[in-house]
Symmetry: C2
């Protein structure tokens, strides 16, 4: 019988059984006790260690359940054979602090994907959060509907109908944690890689997601009305990803004629779809918003993507997709196997926010806020005559500056950077080698503090007129 030189610490916080367990386990690991070797009986060990029999039994039970020791009826306990010897670390995790992304110190950043951070509707959101948690039935903590809560989908359908002319029932809506996730889910629903046409230039983030998902991207050139129909036809794509309300980054609002032409393209062959990304349709400064492409689709060919990232905050992670009826059987077959990705309490908060008019008031407030910045920026940009011309200013939260002083976009970005001002070259948004002239930069104003716009513009002009 193996002698076990266990020195128990009666005053330790570690229970006695665990000290015994630890000791024997270490001995087996370090091959001080060899496989097949017999361990003392629990009676013998308890009397040797002067502890109760049940303490030793507990230690042995743990060793048996973890497979270090085998209990052979009527014979006793034996150390197990470990098929392969693993060096087992002391299990100290390397505590490495997560490194913060290094941020260059910009004086001003005309970020195109920004939102006005102070604009988050703190007060109603806090109030509704409190109410939702106070009224929460235990039911609210069960797993919810994979498509999203019925109440939230009802509120979204209602909003989409009135604000965007989207024609759908709540049963066609799928709520998900962000557009990127929904593109992933859509890939699962399709069950295969597709050829996806994208306007060139386009939204890089969607492009990267499609690429990571293994789809083949067909960049399609744009004219003044948006994606060119003939080039789309020639690309052989099955899906066309478009932003009819406000193309990013060019700012084109797709005219009805082109919309109908694209719908006709989609309807012509089985398996063709338009993926309409309506990412910032809420913000438009002239005329009333143009209804979504989806509302004109009678052939069930539009997949509509919407998000609360722009209108509320990117960090809340709630988007939605409206599938045409013809895709619902595939969703039910493949997509419904994936549980919801937005917490039920967050869905409930958002439902109340939409249903009780908070969202509408919030949007009006944000529109006014962005309009003020927009007007101020445009007034200041008038002084840039001879340097650049402005376009894309009727919608969204960025404008395009086309350089007219001979500078390339790259040079303009570099000169601005030297002055501590971050602007964005149109070049970055092209897929592949672009034939387009590099003569345009983008200025986003959503996240720019209003009072700093004049000085930022002044210094930008200075940087560009050296």
């Amino acid at each position: 019988m193996t002698e076990l030189a266990i020195s128990l610490d009666m005053h330790s916080k570690t229970p006695l059984y665990e000290q015994i367990y630890d000791y024997i386990r270490e001995e087996i690991r370090r091959r001080q006790i060899l496989p097949g070797e017999r361990l003392p009986s629990s009676r013998a060990l308890s009397s040797y260690l002067q502890v109760s029999r049940s303490t030793v039994d507990l230690a042995y039970e743990q060793l048996v359940s973890e497979g270090y020791v085998e209990s052979v009826p009527y014979r006793g306990y034996f150390a197990c054979e470990m098929e392969e010897l693993y060096h087992i670390d002391g299990m100290t995790p390397a505590r490495q602090t997560v490194s913060e992304e290094e941020k260059p110190a910009w004086r001003w950043d005309f970020a195109v994907s920004g939102i006005a951070l102070g604009g988050f509707p703190y007060n109603p959101w806090k109030k509704i959060s409190r109410e939702v948690l106070n009224d929460a039935s235990p039911e609210l903590f069960r797993l919810g509907d994979p498509q999203g809560e019925p109440g939230l989908r009802e509120a979204i359908a209602n909003y989409l109908h009135h604000a965007r002319g989207v024609s759908c029932t709540p049963s066609q809506i799928i709520v998900g944690a962000g557009n990127d996730y929904l593109l992933m889910l859509l890939t699962v629903i399709f069950g295969e890689k597709k050829k996806i046409a994208m306007e060139n230039p386009t939204y890089r983030s969607a492009f990267r997601c499609f690429q990571s998902l293994g789809h083949e991207i067909c960049p399609v050139p744009m004219d003044d009305a948006g994606m060119e129909r003939k080039a789309l036809e020639a690309s052989g794509a099955q899906i066309a990803y478009v932003m009819p309300a406000h193309q990013f980054p060019v700012g084109t609002v797709m005219p009805m004629k082109r919309r109908l032409s694209l719908l006709a393209w989609a309807a012509r062959e089985e398996g063709r779809y338009l993926l309409e990304d309506d990412y910032d349709s809420e913000f438009r400064y002239k005329g009333k918003p143009i209804p979504a492409l989806q509302g004109f689709d009678n052939a069930g060919r539009v997949i509509y993507l919407g998000t609360f990232s722009r209108a509320i905050a990117p960090s809340i992670r709630v988007s939605y997709m409206v599938l045409p009826e013809r895709l619902m059987p595939l969703y039910r077959q493949r997509g419904r196997n994936f549980s919801a990705t937005v917490s039920r309490t967050d869905q409930k908060i958002l439902e109340v926010f939409l249903r009780d008019g908070y969202f509408e008031r919030h949007l009006n407030r944000m529109r006014a806020l962005y309009k003020t910045k927009h007007d101020l920026l445009l007034r200041r940009l008038r002084t840039f005559q001879g340097v650049c011309t402005v376009s894309g200013e009727h919608a969204g939260v960025h404008v395009l500056l086309k350089l007219t002083n001979g500078m390339t976009g790259e040079q303009a970005v570099a000169l601005a950077a030297k002055a501590g001002i971050r602007v964005y070259g149109m070049k970055e948004y092209y897929i592949g080698e672009s034939q387009a002239r590099d003569d345009t930069v983008l200025l986003g104003y959503a996240a720019m503090p209003e009072e700093e716009i004049p000085q930022a513009c002044e210094e930008l002009l200075k940087a560009w007129t050296v």
Copy 2:
């Protein structure tokens, strides 16, 4: 020049320009104004309608921006050619109420995936939510790190180290909205379909996700220690999905020997991985929890999956995965293109919940709660002698009843159902046609109200001894 019989309603809430816009748009849609037809000049129309010129201009501008009308310099406005005539609905959404799933009226449901719903930590959660929103800097509403907030990952790494013996840095942790989402993301990271071995019987939800993601499933039989190594080897699988802490549904705790054997299997060939789903390791009623398989992996072959669904609530949608270092380059290449799926405020709340000891206290409370139900249930099941024997009772929140009175599992489920009691046949958890005898049913007790366990057991016994 076209005559426009617009009757304006000066008292309507609809602005005048919109009434003009609506009228002309409808006329073009209904082909009352034909493509190429010239519209009245804005001067002529404004004088005809007795409205200001700018009102008409606004209507025309909207029509032009939507592509119904073209403006030809020095010539005027012309109705556009619509390539294909679409019937445009009145855009009234079919308001279909989302149908509630029909639930049979069970008197008692021994649900195996349930949790004690009253157990949600309302008070700390509400308190922390309030604090997080009160202290929120605007920064909290920006898009966060795709991997999850550094603070939360730090807290998870710390918890995993101490409670589960998982050895990792926060930089290997990826936070996501549920296990299903993480399996989707993992598929994107791999970039290809894999052959995945699953214990048979197994967790159906993971099985269905893998299937929907296009992976090939290799069901591998189990022995008392878990997945059989030889059968795994023979299956040709690249990935083995295992639940070493507590196999679902069988309840096996995988002994160390088998763990090391599986680790050796994975290390033997490039591209092999163990996917360790540690779904309910928090609940164990005898001895101390067995460290995760991940902690013994020196070859970087274990992908560890954990969730707060069981420990806090399924509806909060927060899971995490620990990738081995060798997979991080692939994650950075493909996976980081997908934005985070958990809202930043929720991540912050959870971080505080973990960091400040609330989670530990909550777990202790839940363990005690489940232990009480567990003990009560087991006491009552003693009266089932001659009907069935109990196993799998040392961990998790369900037990297995092996029928010894000649009934099949199917019969037992049906007889229970007749008495209004829902129990679950082991048969449901097998992949494909199983060779196993249908002689076992599962009883979950997490969601069962404690005070009802005695009567539910009594009636169950009655139903089975008719």
